[in-house]
C-alpha cells in the first residue's frame, strides 16, 4: 500500500512538472512573433534598427520570464517535492 502511495506521489509530481512545462511553449511563439514584427519595422525604417533591437530584447526577456517560472516549478516538482511529500506520508503513517 505504501509503495502504491509513493508511486502516486512520484507520478503526480512528474505529471505536474510536465504540465508546468506547457507554459514553455508560449514564450517561443511570442518571441518569434515579436521578432517577425521587428523585422517588418526595420525593413520599413532601417535607421531605427538600434531602438527596435533594444526594445525587442527587453520584450523578449520579459516574455521569457513566464517560461522561467514554469521551469522553476517543474524543477522543484521533479527534484524537491517528491522527497518532501514522501517524508510527509511516512511521518503521517508513523
Amino acid at each position: 500500500m505504501l509503495e502504491l502511495a509513493i508511486g502516486i506521489i512520484l507520478g503526480g509530481c512528474a505529471l505536474g512538472a510536465g504540465m508546468a512545462m506547457i507554459a514553455g511553449i508560449g514564450p517561443g511563439i511570442g518571441e518569434g512573433n515579436a521578432v517577425a514584427k521587428a523585422c517588418e519595422a526595420i525593413g520599413r525604417q532601417p535607421e531605427s534598427k538600434g531602438d527596435v533591437t533594444t526594445t525587442m530584447l527587453m520584450g523578449c526577456a520579459i516574455a521569457e520570464t513566464t517560461g522561467l517560472y514554469a521551469l522553476v516549478i517543474a524543477i522543484l516538482l521533479l527534484f524537491f517535492a517528491p522527497g518532501h511529500f514522501v517524508n510527509i506520508l511516512i511521518n503521517a503513517l508513523g
Binding site: A36, G50, D51, F79
Partner: protein
C-alpha cells in the same frame, strides 16, 4: 564568428551590472539571516552566470533574426528559445540536485534579468543619453 551588435553588447553589460548588484544584495540577505555558507556563493555564481549567458545568447539570436526574412526570424527565435530553456533547465537541475549548491541561491538569480528590466525606466534617461552619444560617434 559574427560581429556582436553594439546594442546587444550594451544591454548584456547592463544586465551583468544588475546581476552583480542583486547577487550582492542576495548574499547580504543570506548573511543577515545567518544562513550564508559557501554553497550560497556557488549557487549564485552558477545561476547568475547562466542568466547573463542566456540573455547574451538571446541577444545574439535577435541580432541574427532581424537580418532574416519574417518567416525565418520566427523559426530562429523558436529554436533559440527551445535550446536556451533546455540550457536553463540543466543549470537549474544541477543547482537543485547537487548539495554543493544552495537551492534558493541557485534558482533566484535566474530572475534577476527580469528585475533589471523592471527597474530600467529609472535609468532610461541616462541610457538614452548614452545611445544618442553612441549614434553621434557612429556618424
Amino acid at each position: 564568428m559574427p560581429k556582436i551588435d553594439k546594442t546587444v553588447k550594451n544591454e548584456t553589460i547592463y544586465i551583468l551590472y544588475f546581476e552583480i548588484v542583486l547577487s550582492a544584495v542576495m548574499q547580504s540577505v543570506f548573511l543577515i539571516i545567518g544562513k550564508w555558507d559557501l554553497s550560497v556563493l556557488l549557487g549564485n555564481l552558477l545561476s547568475g552566470s547562466a542568466a547573463v549567458l542566456n540573455f547574451f545568447l538571446m541577444g545574439l539570436s535577435v541580432q541574427k533574426a532581424v537580418e532574416k526574412e519574417e518567416k525565418d526570424a520566427k523559426k530562429i527565435m523558436r529554436i533559440s528559445q527551445t535550446y536556451r530553456t533546455l540550457f536553463l533547465f540543466v543549470i537549474a537541475a544541477i543547482g537543485v540536485y547537487f548539495s554543493v549548491f544552495n537551492t534558493i541561491a541557485a534558482l533566484v538569480p535566474l530572475f534577476f534579468p527580469r528585475i533589471a528590466i523592471a527597474l530600467r525606466p529609472l535609468f532610461s534617461k541616462k541610457n538614452n543619453t548614452d545611445t544618442q552619444n553612441g549614434e553621434t560617434d557612429e556618424k
